[in-house]
Point group: C2
């Protein structure tokens, strides 16, 4: 799943803005961005990623939301299958941590030549 992304996309690697994507590359990349396209998953990912290499128990994540535990589990699965996080069982609990390589990769895909321009407070 994550390997699919890696194998399909490793060869390419110039940012979006430098040359057009092939249909195959776009297909694979879209899965990763789609996983980021939900506010609950974005918050989950930020909660996990903000702890770096110290992984997080699912029980700590569920308590941060007003959603049932199966719903959180579903979102974690989506993030997992996108390759953005990995889970590991230790005893009764399951711990997740972020995959910084894919995050870094996606970050570079969105880079443009236009550096140093902060987002405007308001556009005309």
């Amino acid at each position: 799943m994550s390997n699919q992304l890696a194998s399909e996309v490793t060869a390419c690697c110039p940012p979006l803005a430098s040359e057009p994507l092939t249909a195959g590359q776009a297909e694979v990349l879209a899965k990763a961005f789609k996983a980021l396209g939900d506010p609950v998953r974005l918050r989950l990912l930020s909660l996990i990623a903000a702890r770096g290499s110290r992984d997080v128990c699912v029980c700590d994540l569920t308590s941060a939301f007003d959603l049932t535990q199966p719903t959180i589990s579903h979102h974690l699965k989506v993030l997992r299958e996108a390759g953005l996080i990995t889970g590991q069982r230790r005893g009764t609990w399951v711990y997740y941590r972020a995959e910084p390589q894919l995050l870094t990769f996606l970050s570079r895909m969105l880079e443009t030549s236009e550096r140093g321009t902060p987002i405007p407070v308001a556009a005309p």
Copy 2:
């Protein structure tokens, strides 16, 4: 629409991995990532962004896909409302160009402290 993103999110700005997002920030960011979560839109954006400040006629975009013109128009609208591209009519044709500021902003949101690690070719 794009202003909503700007106003909600300008104040924050540390990357995902540095501190957890608030629910409001996640809501707004998710809209932008959701727009990127479709292979057709990713290819459209890359076709547009790859030309930098030289904008692209819609007619050139539709011919690159095996989809009807209204479908392409729909995807362009999604990208437009996400603030990723802007359109301008000149005579009979409509031309689009990318908004590098938002792309740069999203890129920074995905940055991690782990720099310089390329994506692996295959994971175990």
